[in-house]
Structure formats: C-alpha cells, structure tokens
Amino acid sequence: MSRAGTSPYQVANEKRRRTVVTPEGIALPFVVGARSARAGALIMDFMIISVTMVVVTLSLMWMFGGLLEGSDSLGGAGEFLIIFYILFIFLARYGYFLAFEMGPRGATPGKRMVGIRVAARDGGRLTAEAVIARNLLRDIEIFLPLVFLFTAPSGEGGPASIAALLWFLVFMLFAFFNRDAMRAGDLVAGTWVVEAPRKTLAAALSSAGAASNGSSDVTGAEYKFGDDELAVYGEYELQTLERVLRDGKPEAINAVAETICRKIGWNPGAGDERAFLESFYGQLRARLEVGMRFGKRKANKFS
C-alpha cells in the first residue's frame, strides 16, 4: 500500500496487511490474525469446552448417584442420562466451533477475546458450508497429532507411529508454512482469520484548544510556527504526536515538547507544554494536508 510505514501502528503489522476489494470496488484493508493470537484463542476455547465438560460430567455423576441409590438396576432415567452425555460429548467436540462461527460475529468466544474473526478469503460472504468445512478438518489438525504426540515417543507403535506423527505434524503446523497463516481447514473452506478491531471514535483534535487557534488557554501565549520550522517533520512524526496528545501522559508530553523545541530552536519555557504541542500539531497537520491535496507527501522527517 502507498501508506506503508506512515504510522508506528502500521509498521508493526505491515507484513500481515492484505487488501480485499469488496463488490462495490472499495479496497478494504485486513490484517491477518497473528498465529500467536490464534493459538491463544484456541487454548481459551479448549478451556471453555473442558470446564463445561467437567461441570456437566460432575453434575451428571451426581444425578446418577441419586438414581442408583433408590434401586439397583438402571432405569429409563439413567439410560437417558447416558445418552445425553454421549451426545453432549459429540456436540462439544464438533458443535462448539460451528455454532459460534456461524453467528453474526463469526468468532468463537476465544477468538472474540483476542479480537479476531473468520472471514471469506475472496471478499464474498462467509457461508455455512465454509464454516463446516474448516471445522471438520480440526480432527486431523489437532486431535490426531496430539494422540500421536503422546503415544509415538514411547516407541510402542514402532517406526510406523513415528512416521504418522511426522505426517500429522505437517497438518498441525500447516499455518506456519504460508503467508496468510491458513490452517488446512482454512485452505479447504476458502476462509482466513483476520483481526476484527472495534475502535471508538475519539474527539477531533483541531476543533478546540490550542490546535484550533494556536493560542494557549493557560497563558494566552500565541504559538505561530514558520514554514521552515514545520518542514522538519513528516507524517510519521505527526501521527506519533497525535498519539501522545490523545494518551495525554504528562511525562510524555513534556519530553516530546522538549525534543521539538530543541529541534526547531525554540525556548518557550515550562508549564504550557500541551498547548504548545497542540498548536504545533494543528499547524503541522494543516501544512502536511495541504501538501497532500496537491499530491506532495512527506512520509517522515528523512524524506
């Protein structure tokens, strides 16, 4: 993308950024979910499943104990409990991921916690078939490799089970062998897992305070910067400054104000750093945006 490297946030995941063109022709940026985030989501989902299983098992055992006390033979109620339990285990293994990923959020609780979701790779709609296909392959990606991982090193199965372990490890580690971090299931279903950020809109910085008129509310001092003073910084520095202003940490504000003053050779004194930075931000952004409208962009202080 042309905006590559313009903000620190984008630099960090530049390798994982992809652009999908929607049917309207809008280029939507997606960030492929990090493998570590996905592993974390998986672990959390398994914890949810296993805790539920333990709770259900214990409560069923407790109910079962109550049934056995009355009579010594298993009645219809006992049989019902066993059937319920068998079907519950089946559903927990196959149904959990299906039900959640087919929902409007396209994510299991674990995925939602780490902020990722499933999406169709071609920019179309995520269909029920795709979700089914990607989840049915979990068997050979997780369950079977784990079985072999625990049994093969003991050497009981002989070389055949070591070979099977290696073979299954290919599927387990499939996501590490492609750029888009796709599992085998993703490949078969035509899906991928992307980051699903939920941002709230922060206040506009230039509508009030020193950024709007260049004068401080505290001291009444006017800050006007000349062209050559504003020319030292580019978009990268502007967006770093934006984050400092939005975070509002006094130490950071003081440090940044000091750095800028040293760079442009000002000496405004202490106590009014925020107003100084806001005016500088407002005027730098105005200058860079005018340049942008005329097709002249300055990515950072080196360009």
Partner: protein
C-alpha cells in the same frame, strides 16, 4: 484513565463539552479534514449503533428505517474512508473508519438466511445436488470399498491367520475362525428386551460419525489416506463375511448387516468420496487455482458431510433397534427399503435447475 492534576489546566474539558452540547461545532475546527469528519460523524455513529445491535444478534428490535439505511450508511462510510485516506492525516479517524467499514461489510455481506432457512435449502435439494456433484468420487470410493471387501475375503480364505490381523477381536468375542454354526448364529440372534439399546445407539452414532469425519478429513492429503481407510474397513467386513459364509450363514449375515449397513456403509462411502473429492480437485485443479479449487470442493464436500452425519444418526437407530429386535426377513426388507430411499433422495430428488450455491 488516570487524570493527573496538571491535565486539568489544559483544554481537554472543552473538547468533551463541545461534543456534549449536541451537534459537533463544525465551525470551530481549524482543519479542513476535521470539518469533513465532523460533518459526517453523525452517520458513522448511527451505523456503529446499528452494527452493535446486529452483532449482538438483536435483529428483532431493529427498526425498519435502520435496516433500510444500513446499505446506504455502509456506502457512505466506505466513501468517507476513501476520501479521508487521501485528505486526512488523523490516524485515529482513519483507523476508526477502517474498522467501521470492515464491520459493516461483514454484516452487509453476512449470511442472509437463518439456520432453518439453510436447513430447508439443504434438505430440499442442496444435499442431493452436492452428492451428485461428486459422482465420480463416489465411483472411485465404491471401487475401493468393493476391492477392500474382496481382498479381505480372499486373504482370510487363503490363510485364517489374517482374520486376527484384520478384525480387532475382543477377549470374549465368539466370532473367530473355527467357531461352530450355532455359536455364530447366536451372535446374529434377536434380542427380546429393549433395555440398553438406546445407549447402544447413541454410542454407535458418536463412534461412526467420528470415523466418517476422519475419513473426510484425511482426504485433504490428495485423497490417498481416505482410500486406505475405506479399503481397510471393508477388508474387515470381507473377513467377517467369509467367516459367516463358511458356516453357511451368508444370508443371515447379509440380512443382519443390511438393516443399518445400507445406511451406514453408504454414509461412509459418501464421507470417503467427499474426502477424495477435495484431494482430487487439489491434485487436478483444472483451469482454477489450487486454492480456488480446494475452497470450492471443500464447501461442496462439507455439505455432503452434514448429510453423512444425518445418515449416521439414522443408521445408529436402525442398528440399535430393528437389527436387534426383528428377524432375518424383516431385516432385509428394512435394509433394502432404506437403500432405495437414499438412492432416490440423492439421485432423483431436486433435479430442477436451481441456483447451485457451490
């Protein structure tokens, strides 16, 4: 958020105050790009509110006006994003718009039908079309299964030691070579009580569905492991068949097996075929890319697999109740009826030209 005392001296409160007074103060914004943003902010916030409700699954309470406005708001936000990318350096607004448009896109292009709508389309022709779509793979799987059965039979008839290798015999199992006709007949006998049979059915279902999902998942490696699994399972069947026919019980064994076998083995056949379908389309993608071929065949195979799980439920009921409770002739009738029903459903039903989703 921490609010140290020094911050109160600065002008942060006034920013909050201006947004609290109702509409944003557009004239106060010094920058053109911020005025652009403040003019459109209301639409973005409205879209965000609608999205929040849709993502929470609370579609019922959504007013009609909002539902109608969604596509318009989506396009507005998307064009705002396109403009902002070229005119604004406000990183926070850009990130917000990107996430907003992305969320809206997921909802606008989200699944349009609910679970029951999907199920109706699935049972009313979608499944049949998918099964017909993989006919070639069904033929391959069928050939593998027949070959497996014959080889199991031949192996055991040459050398009975093979029986123990093929069939996982349990300690007390009486179905071993050399067993008398009476002993074998007893294992095919009719039970006269129903207790415990439903548990049996449930565990059969869980087991068989697991096996068929495995047969499907293994197809990913170009279909070869699926074929091996099919051949091995059918060799077991062939070996047992030899055992019973050796004792002159072919007819009884076939009847005993056919009750649920016509459904269950058909299901395993379809699961294996679905796996082979994926493997085959990845090995020979034709004019599509491998990724596109895998995705297309994967979605079709997934439909077949849901059908297979349904079949396994039915097979488990048949195996647990009719097989254990009725005699030889009835077993045959039930088994053949089921086979005819499945064949009719898969290959004759839903033939009208409909929009194939896969």
């Amino acid at each position: 958020m921490k609010a140290p005392a020094i911050r109160n001296w600065f002008s942060k409160q006034e920013i909050d105050a201006s947004s609290a007074m109702g509409g944003p103060d557009i004239e106060a914004a010094a920058l053109r790009s911020d005025r652009f943003r403040l003019e459109r902010e209301g639409d973005w916030k409205r879209l965000e509110g609608i999205l929040k409700r849709m993502e929470g699954g609370r579609l019922r309470g959504l007013p009609d006006a909002d539902v109608l406005a969604l596509p318009v708001l989506y396009r507005t936000a998307a064009s705002s994003l396109a403009v902002a990318r070229e005119t604004s350096l406000d990183n926070d607004t850009l990130a917000y718009l990107e996430s907003l448009v992305q969320r809206a896109w997921f909802q606008v292009y989200g699944p349009r039908q609910g679970f029951f709508g999907w199920l109706r389309g699935f049972l009313g022709g979608g499944l049949s079309r998918s099964v017909r779509g993989i006919w070639l793979d069904i033929c391959i799987a069928l050939a593998a299964m027949i070959a497996g059965t014959i080889s199991g039979w031949l192996l055991v008839s040459r050398d009975q030691e093979w029986y123990y290798r093929l069939v996982p015999t349990q300690f007390m199992d009486t179905r071993v070579p050399g067993a008398t006709r009476e002993v074998l007949l007893e294992t095919l006998a009719v039970e006269n009580k129903t207790a415990g049979l439903s548990t049996f059915a449930a565990s059969l279902f869980s087991n068989n569905a697991g096996v068929s999902i495995l047969a499907f998942a293994l197809g990913f490696a170009f279909g070869v492991p699926s074929l091996m699994l099919l051949v091995h399972n059918m060799a077991v069947l062939g070996a047992m068949w030899w055992l019973f026919s050796d004792a002159g019980l072919s007819w009884e064994f076939a009847a005993w097996l056919s009750v649920h076998g016509t459904t269950e083995i058909f299901g395993i056949l379809l699961a294996g075929a679905a796996g082979i379908h994926i493997g085959r389309s990845m090995a020979f993608p034709g004019h599509r890319s491998i990724m596109a071929a895998a995705a297309q065949s994967g979605r079709r195979a997934a439909q077949v697999m849901v059908g297979v799980v349904f079949m396994m439920i039915i097979a488990a009921f048949l195996e647990a109740f009719p097989r254990q409770l009725v005699g030889t002739a009835e077993r045959f009738v039930i088994g053949m009826t089921m086979l005819a029903l499945w064949l009719g459903y898969f290959f004759a039903f839903g033939r009208r030209p409909a929009d194939d989703p896969t």
